[in-house]
Amino acid sequence: MTSGSDIACVDPLRVFGLFGYALPTVAVGAPFELGYASPEDASGAVLTPQPAAGAFVRSTPQGFSAELASTGFVVWQGSEVLDFTNVTARPLALLGFLDPSAVPMAMAQDAGPVRYQATAGVPATLIVLPEASDGTTLAGSMECAFASSDPERLWIAGQGIVAHLAPLADGTVTVTATCMGIRAQVEVDITAAGAPPDAGEPTDGPGDDTSEDAGVDGGEAPDSDGLADGEGG
């Protein structure tokens, strides 16, 4: 992007804390939205970033979708350009997992199976981190599919890149996330409520989430962190 550009992604969920004036790299084909710092000019005219060359950008109900490595967006004010930026897009290659309850947020992926600690009866949230081949986190809205290897022990509801977990009984369950054709797995070790975690195992799982409405009836995902009401990534 041009230095000093005031164009930004409008949805913080899609940029994972990078919200501001630094545009993240987006995943090829994943819709994203852009906004301008001042939504209107002095005359009330709407200021919206538009593709500089529309033929190379797909417009979807969820936003723009970039197919090129570098896609220009321009904010027009009449016949003049108020601002512009180039959005970089890279193919999705890896999926990481982010535990939003950990401080700082724990992130593990890539090499070997990822393990995660959970407590039966305590809902938890995992966020998938889409990444390029070199580990660069990619923004963009994408629908991921989540599957539990043992739904009797671990119930999952997915929304975008967010997985809501309802651990039901102790044991180890494999969670598989699939986003835009890329798969990744995380092993979830569930301990019974009140039971100490296994010796030597980290305890930085989502156990500090004590929401009571972890019910699994009605297919309603536990809304333990407020993320579930937002966009899916």
């Binding site: 041009t2 197919e67 570098s70 220009g72 016949s79 003049e80």
Partner: protein, 134 residues
């Protein structure tokens, strides 16, 4: 009588040394500005912009406050547009190929340019195909 003769000799020697008329002072200076995306930018002989991308150019008169306007030879290959900031322009790649940016001072085209500090008469524009995202 000797002084005029010396003057003539000096003038002949000066001309014979291969000195040429110095280039006129550039009327317009063109420089790249802002961060360019991969494969985009301005050199002393060429502006390169990938298809679908945007670069920013500062195109300013060197000695006057005249208004600068620009056009592109082939608008199917590239688009040039002014920014709200004086002397700032964007160049957008539309299709692969080569074209030329023309610079006008108060509506009069000028061929006396300084391109990244180097004298030039025109600004060739090369619109390149983007590599696939990697």
């Amino acid at each position: 009588m000797r002084i005029p003769a010396f003057s003539v000799a000096f003038a002949v020697a000066f001309a014979g040394a291969g000195c040429s008329t110095p280039p006129p002072s550039p009327q317009v200076s063109i420089t790249g500005s802002g961060a360019a995306s991969q494969g985009a930018g301005l050199t002393s002989s060429l502006a390169s912009v990938p298809v679908g991308a945007v670069i920013e150019l500062t195109i300013a008169p060197t000695e006057t406050e005249d208004t600068v306007t620009v056009t592109v030879d082939d608008p199917t290959l590239a688009m040039a547009a002014p920014m709200t900031v004086k002397d700032q322009f964007i160049l957008v790649g539309l299709a692969p190929g080569s074209t030329t940016l023309h610079v006008f001072l108060n509506g009069q085209e000028t061929h006396v340019l300084s391109l990244s500090g180097v004298s030039a008469t025109t600004l060739p524009v090369d619109v390149t195909q983007q590599p696939p995202p990697s």
